[in-house]
């Protein structure tokens, strides 16, 4: 409980920093003014108000919402697959979304994120279900390597198909390269609110499955003996994962390794009880994505490094350390 409180405090500090830091640095007083003051004839104050309300607030809100979604989604994927290597990036969710985005831009000529975000959602969900299904047929269920390689294969396949479409249509190539970087910036509230609604449903579903998830991890037979409806619990879990990961990816683009990273840190902090682990992972996800976004604004000033790139650069070495310390076993 103390840990959760501390994470919330860190998150609030992070959010405040996220409002102040950027190409145009703002003082706390200026942020306060931008947030709460009524329109002012002063040119400089109007500008500050504009920056805070249309740039900083949306990206901060999205970083928190998407971070929570990816954190909870990541820890749920690991729980349901009983697979410590499961992650949205490795599950092909990201490449499915990219492919869908490029295809609808090339076919329908959509230019606004509000139009293609829904197709990204569908693509993400479809790819995730395919990889998950492939790796859980028969004997391979629960083998980390099968899941990783299935995800890798589907990702490479979809990436090549994405390229094929993008090369025939310069507009979609242009959209693709920015989308692929995975960023919380440049998305308006017209996209953020519906995405948040999806994520909220996903979070509620996720929280309701946690007690049965704990029992499922004792093994299917034990769980059935203790009165868990296994098929129902799995279905609800997969729907929740798809909602969370799909909605976050649709809004931000691919952000790999975040879910994997925070799920492991959360397990280290709380132990194996999913009722504690999942809330921790959600808050940690929000903190890491928020900090990643802030770091991205600082390192290559006045330019920016996209949050997805920062998280991958942090998360991949973290993953390598876990591998090296023998956290994953071949089944």
């Amino acid at each position: 409980m103390v840990g959760l409180g501390a994470l919330v405090v860190v998150l609030v500090i992070g959010a405040a920093a996220s409002l102040a830091v950027g190409a145009r640095a703002l003082s706390p007083a200026e942020v306060w003014h931008g947030l709460f003051a009524s329109p002012d004839p002063d040119q400089r104050l109007t500008e500050i108000r504009l920056i805070v309300r249309t740039v900083r607030v949306p990206r901060t809100v999205l970083a928190i919402v998407a971070g929570i979604a990816l954190g909870i989604g990541g820890s749920l994927i690991q729980g349901y697959t009983r697979n410590p290597i499961a992650d949205t990036g490795l599950l092909g969710v990201n490449s499915g979304a990219s492919f869908a985005v490029v295809t609808v831009i090339a076919v329908f000529g959509f230019a606004d994120p509000f139009q293609y975000v829904w197709f990204a959602f569908l693509g993400a969900a479809a790819a995730g279900v395919v990889v998950f299904g492939l790796s859980s047929i028969g004997r391979g269920a629960g083998n980390p390597l099968t899941l990783a390689l299935a995800g890798q294969g589907v990702t490479v396949f979809l990436a090549a198909m994405t390229t094929a479409v993008a090369l025939t249509d310069l507009q979609s190539l242009n959209a693709l390269r920015f989308w692929n970087a995975g960023s919380v910036a440049g998305v308006g509230f017209d996209v953020i609110w519906p995405v948040t609604a999806f994520i909220a449903v996903g979070v509620v579903l996720a929280l309701t499955t946690l007690p049965s998830l704990n029992l499922l991890n004792l093994g299917d037979d034990v769980a059935r003996g203790l009165g868990v409806n296994i098929a129902l619990s799995r279905t609800v879990g997969i729907v929740a994962i798809t909602l969370l990961a799909g909605a976050a990816t649709a809004a931000c683009g691919p952000i790999a390794f975040l879910g994997l990273m925070v799920a492991h840190v959360a397990r280290y902090m709380t132990g194996p009880d999913y009722r504690w682990l999942v809330p921790y992972a959600g808050l940690l996800g929000a903190v890491v994505l928020l900090v990643g976004d802030i770091v991205g604004r600082l390192v290559v000033r006045p330019g920016e490094l996209d949050a997805g790139v920062v998280v991958a650069l942090l998360g991949a070495p973290f993953f390598a350390v876990l591998v090296w310390r023998g956290k994953f076993r071949s089944a």
């Binding site: 290597i85 990036g89 490795l90 492939l134 790796s135 047929i137 028969g138 004997r139 391979g140 269920a141 390597l145 099968t146 990783a148 390689l149 299935a150 890798q152 294969g153 589907v154 490479v156 396949f157 990436a159 090549a160 198909m161 390229t163 094929a164 993008a166 090369l167 025939t168 310069l170 190539l173 242009n174 390269r177 920015f178 692929n180 970087a181 995975g182 790999a256 390794f257 330019g303 490094l305 996209d306 997805g308 790139v309 991958a312 650069l313 998360g315 991949a316 070495p317 993953f319 390598a320 591998v323 090296w324 994953f328 071949s330």
Partner: protein
């Protein structure tokens, strides 16, 4: 029964079926190679192609074939062989039919290097490209990353499982860098980089063919020299050691050769996906052998790559890079492998 043959210190098993299939594959590869040279905007008959290759062709054919079409076809042949053999080695060492050298970091490193050089114009980058060429620079980048993966995965020996996971993580870092470079670049450079990223045989020159030719030749000799210790390797560390294989040494040499072969291939054609994964598995099934056979894997790789290139430039309504076609073939094949491996 399959009789054994002994020649001094070297002994091997005489397998008529394997030899026949391999010879047939070689013949098929040669045929597709000649077809690929003959088909184009200026079609040339098969007999004239063969005559020209043997040095007895007409002047017109000689120009079109030797100066225009031969580099592309040869690049396809060599890249296919290199990828096939590299894949066969990787799958044997990792003892996993789904492993391919793409996940050992070479592809990611070479891609990041190439995209960096294509998109960052001016100064040092332009100087590097004009002096050593994009291919050679990508080769160095790919090799560096491959070696990095190898050293990071080293912990009292190399273990296939750890190698794959470390490879995936290093590749992810390289992809993040590539993605970031692409967002910074001019859109025309992005299109150029994207063609490179999916693997293409367009506009190959004799220079590039020469690099991949010498690399492949030297490495194949090394592989052939240690390949007789190949089969015990597949049985696992303990059994191999019991049979008298110095497995850590042999495995290190073979894996290094696989990395170098893949790097040579990537430098010549870009990261053509799935050839290294599919070729050894197809070869294994064709020759009915329990582990990926080296020679047959190389030939299937060449057949696949040249065939895909032929399809990409003549059979499809729009001209696409060869990598798109190999991915279209390889993706479903991977699904098949997965389902089969799991249902057994």
């Amino acid at each position: 029964m399959t009789p054994g043959v002994r020649l001094g210190q070297v002994s091997f098993v005489w397998r008529p079926w394997m030899v026949c299939v391999t010879l047939l594959l070689a013949a098929a590869t040669f045929l597709v190679f000649c077809l690929s040279i003959g088909i184009g905007d200026f079609p040339i008959g098969l007999s004239r192609v063969i005559a020209t290759i043997l040095g007895r062709g007409e002047q017109v054919d000689e120009f079109v074939i030797m100066d225009l079409r031969m580099p592309r076809a040869l690049a396809g042949l060599l890249v296919g062989i290199a990828l096939g053999v590299s894949g066969a080695i990787t799958q044997s060492v990792a003892r996993n039919p789904l492993a391919s050298p793409d996940i050992l970091g070479i592809t990611g490193g070479a891609s990041a290097t190439a995209v960096f050089l294509v998109t960052v114009s001016g100064g040092a980058a332009t100087a590097v490209v004009s002096t050593v060429g994009l291919s050679a620079a990508a080769l160095v980048g790919g090799l560096g990353t491959g070696l990095l993966v190898y050293f990071l995965a080293w912990r009292r020996g190399v273990d296939g499982f750890r190698l794959i996971l470390i490879g995936i993580s290093v590749t992810a870092v390289m992809e993040a860098i590539t993605t970031w470079l692409l967002t910074k670049a001019d859109i025309r450079d992005v299109a150029r980089a994207q063609v490179w990223l999916v693997g293409s045989l367009d506009n190959r020159s004799w220079d590039e063919v020469r690099v991949v030719f010498w690399c492949t030749l030297v490495l194949m000799v090394v592989v052939a020299a240690v390949a007789f210790q190949f089969k015990p390797l597949h049985l696992g560390d303990e059994v191999a050691a019991g049979l008298g294989v110095r497995f850590s040494g042999v495995r290190a040499v073979l894996l290094l050769c696989a990395v170098l072969l893949a790097a040579a291939a990537v430098s010549a054609a870009g990261p053509v996906p799935f050839v290294a994964l599919v070729a050894p598995q197809v070869a294994m099934r064709l020759v009915r052998y329990p582990t990926p056979p080296l020679v047959a894997s190389g030939l299937v790789g060449a057949l696949l790559l040249i065939g895909a290139d032929l399809t990409a430039r003549s059979a499809l309504p729009v001209t696409l890079p060869v990598g798109v076609v190999t991915a279209a073939i390889g993706g479903p094949f991977l699904v098949y492998l997965l389902v089969r491996a799991n249902l057994r």
